[in-house]
């Protein structure tokens, strides 16, 4: 069994009168157990230079079965530009936009066809890093 942790810290000293500081660490486990996830794609890096929607991660029931414990990390490594972003979708359902420098981390339900897709705002070369943890 492997032990993998994901820690998040959200902080702001000046959004409100008092500081915001949210921090949590999750240990990534298999579904319904305390056993650590043991599989990962490793950190992958891909370049996109088209404004067409494409699959970032193709999901099928063999590699990433449905209703198990799966997590994905995605980061847009470009420098922030006010007009350039990528839309992250899950089987055509829009999740949201990642501008340069933004990252996200979320569970995946998995299942055949539930691909993680990316739709760049234009043809500017965009470098995306991602990593999937699964069972």
């Amino acid at each position: 069994m492997a032990t993998t942790t994901a820690t998040i810290t959200l902080s702001s000293a000046d959004m409100m009168d008092n500081a915001i500081s949210i921090s949590n660490t999750a240990t990534l486990t298999t579904a319904d157990t305390a056993t650590g996830l043991t599989e990962t794609t490793g950190l992958a890096r891909r370049k996109f230079a088209s404004s067409s929607k494409v699959d970032l991660v193709t999901i099928d029931n063999t590699d990433i079965p449905t209703n198990k414990s799966t997590k994905i990390f995605i980061r847009n490594t470009n420098a922030r530009d006010a007009s350039k972003y990528v839309i992250i979708l899950l089987n055509s359902q829009e999740i949201g936009r990642l501008y340069g420098g933004d990252w996200m981390f979320m569970p995946l339900l998995g299942g055949s066809g539930e691909d993680v897709e990316i739709d760049p705002s234009d043809t500017t070369e965009t470098i995306i890093e991602y990593m999937v943890f699964h069972e």
Binding site: A2, L10, S11, S12, D32, F73, L90, I95, L98, M106
Partner: protein, 146 residues
């Protein structure tokens, strides 16, 4: 202008042959901006009963395609208790005990109330306590009506 940052650290000493350590930090800006930080936030803690899918966060027309960042954590400790996160009935994934997620939220409004990309939640195997935060822009309070 407020400055809010989000940092993630992914680490493991034994999932690969070599140690894994990935870290990233982002600053939460308003949409289409490189310098103006988000300045609105909502936070909460809810007990989610089993058997019903609830709206945790309602999409609004004012929030559509704006900068909205959502954080949700399942505070339960029983590994069999999980919440299923959905968006407009599309299953996103399960948050098991101690799991958290952090995503941009496009708040697709679909031109009407029937097709909103609300963030929905349902608990399984037992009531789950969740904590959440939404850093956002675009919200205007509704006029008092009663």
């Amino acid at each position: 202008m407020a400055t809010t940052t989000a940092t993630i650290t992914l680490s493991s000493a034994d999932i690969l042959s070599d140690a894994l350590s990935v870290s990233a930090t982002s600053t939460l800006y308003k949409d289409a901006s490189t310098s103006t930080g988000l300045d609105q936030v909502r936070m909460g803690r809810n007990e989610i009963a089993t058997g019903t899918t609830f709206d945790l966060l309602d999409a609004t027309a004012a929030g559509e395609d704006k900068s909205n960042w959502v954080y949700i954590v399942n505070k339960e400790t029983d590994p069999t208790y999980y919440v299923l996160i959905t968006m407009y009935d599309k299953g996103i994934g399960r948050l098991y005990s101690g799991d958290w997620m952090y995503i941009p939220w496009g708040q697709g409004y679909g031109g009407g109330t029937a097709a909103k990309d609300d963030i929905e939640i349902e608990a399984f195997n037992g009531t789950c306590t969740v904590e959440w935060a939404c850093f956002h822009e675009g919200e205007t309070l509704t006029t008092q009506a009663d």
